[in-house]
Point group: C2
Amino acid sequence: MNPITIITKKRDQQILTTEEIAFIAQGAATGTIPDYQLAAWLMAVYINGLTDQETADLTRAMAESGDRVDLSGLPTPWADKHSTGGVGDKTTIVLLPILAACGLTVVKMSGPGLGKTGGTIDKLASIPGFRTDLTPEQMKAQANHIGIALTGQTPSLAPADKTLYALRDVTATVPCLPLIVSSILSKKIAGGADHVTLDVKCGSGAFMETPAEARRLADALTKVGTAAGLKIRTAVTDMDQPLGRTAGNALEIKEAIRILQGQETGRFRDLCIHLAQITLENCGILADPAFAIDSGAALMKMRQWVTAQGGHPRFSITKSGNPHPTFTKSFTTMNPVGSNQLTPKSSASKSLNSAVDENPKVTPSITPSASKPSSK
Amino acid sequence: MNPITIITKKRDQQILTTEEIAFIAQGAATGTIPDYQLAAWLMAVYINGLTDQETADLTRAMAESGDRVDLSGLPTPWADKHSTGGVGDKTTIVLLPILAACGLTVVKMSGPGLGKTGGTIDKLASIPGFRTDLTPEQMKAQANHIGIALTGQTPSLAPADKTLYALRDVTATVPCLPLIVSSILSKKIAGGADHVTLDVKCGSGAFMETPAEARRLADALTKVGTAAGLKIRTAVTDMDQPLGRTAGNALEIKEAIRILQGQETGRFRDLCIHLAQITLENCGILADPAFAIDSGAALMKMRQWVTAQGGHPRFSITKSGNPHPTFTKSFTTMNPVGSNQLTPKSSASKSLNSAVDENPKVTPSITPSASKPSSK
């Protein structure tokens, strides 16, 4: 098979076979197809599109291009969640503890932020000591133990997507529906996902700026994801203004905790509860996400989660801890000596911090250990 | 200026400014824009096209991206000739001596063969000792002396085209009218051309397979070339069957000499005379190309030319020399020791030879020096 033939077909609006798409994905994963040929192919795909069948083929081929996480053995059902990203979107950090508190096993591999949207992994890295580099085995063991685990994507997961994603960013081929769909879903499949809730952001703070665009993406995700064997639920949610009160990694962690403490009401809490509801429905579980918050069960899961992933012991999460803790420079990279465990794991978090936060670290709450987990 | 912005504009069918196109050409020439971005841009251009103005801008920008040959001081008018290439197309080798015999100064820089079409430079390299690597200064001195010079393109001539040309070959963006036009004309301009005759081949042995395609290319060459200050004449000529009797570098050199010896009639001779006529008209010269052949004047120019460029003394061109000289292995690369001056200068000729010819070298005619140049 020859990359030029495949580029030519797509250039001329022909439909590629499953084998041709697999050849491109394998070539991207292994480096046997050079970047310039992948770039020409991406532009041809951008302009001429991919059919649903081609998109499903690309999704599967990218998922199969590297390691795959096998979650079998974990308590079912397993839930995963993905947001297309928006300013101030800290939904995952609230949603995962709620779902785990409701009895789901939530396992998520999370990518770094893209463009104007921050990444969950960057936000969590602002918790002193929090590890975002769990191996698949560690992730699985933790999920088995406490029902919740989140880690950064390993390079061996969907390496074809990794290559194409990086190329799209520099070849003006990012906002392309079939490429977005296959990129999102291939990582979910490779990460072992089963039931997936997809939150498609819509508005000036998101990549999809109009409701029609967002609806098209949600429909394509559902169609292609279902064809690939996933149980998909989608929600199109507003991103015309930042989600919640804050934008910035450390600030958003604090806000997420305040939601779980039951100290916030409004649009962001409502969104978290809505997404939890459709996820629970999708998994066939009857539970009340609002009660998981109000009872303190979700906050307890958050504590377990942060502790399990190495969150610094001084970063205590209390039922009513200081909602607006003061900031200090003491954990910034300006003073890294002797405080290695407190610096962010993700280098991406640093640049996002510097762009949005003035102070990249949440100060540990001074409340010593007054946590009183709910006994729901 | 940012390559991604320029790629995005072309992707979205917008028209690029002169400065944006110059930025792409400079980036291609200097390597500051990576191949994958140029590849994405080329595919966007392939699918969405360039306007005549954009094509003229690209032509000028590529011509200005490196060294330029200055022919001022040579006897005027200067003529150059280009063929879009076809199987068995040895027209240049016949046409240049005819034009020089008619009083024009013919200076040509010639590229290697592309795809199924052989390059003039490869054909000439099959003459033992023939140099295809004249410097611009050597080329100019020779043209001043005998009215004719041909050399391979130096890497410093239109380096932007060199980069884009190589990329087009591997990204399925070769058959694209504005890219073909700007590639051809930028090299003519950088090579110092003034009056240019463009032979657009049409048929199954050429890149333009239908008369309509070939006519479109001829029209675009005329329009863009005129806008760039060249005096252009075009001819659309048939390439549904190989031109002349032979295909293969050494065989074609022999056939070209037979035409100049006046020993051949038919379609190929007619084409050479037609192209010579329109070139002479374009330059405002009243002369009869057929008489240049019949009188022996063109053959004499050929002898002068081959000798001036280092053609081996044993490669003698006679008025009636053996039209079918036998072949021998003695000049092949199988026996290179002590015969360095007899091996081809161009490595491209070797592969083309091996693909088409069985014997890559023309045997020197055994007629000692019976040449009797006509005294027209």
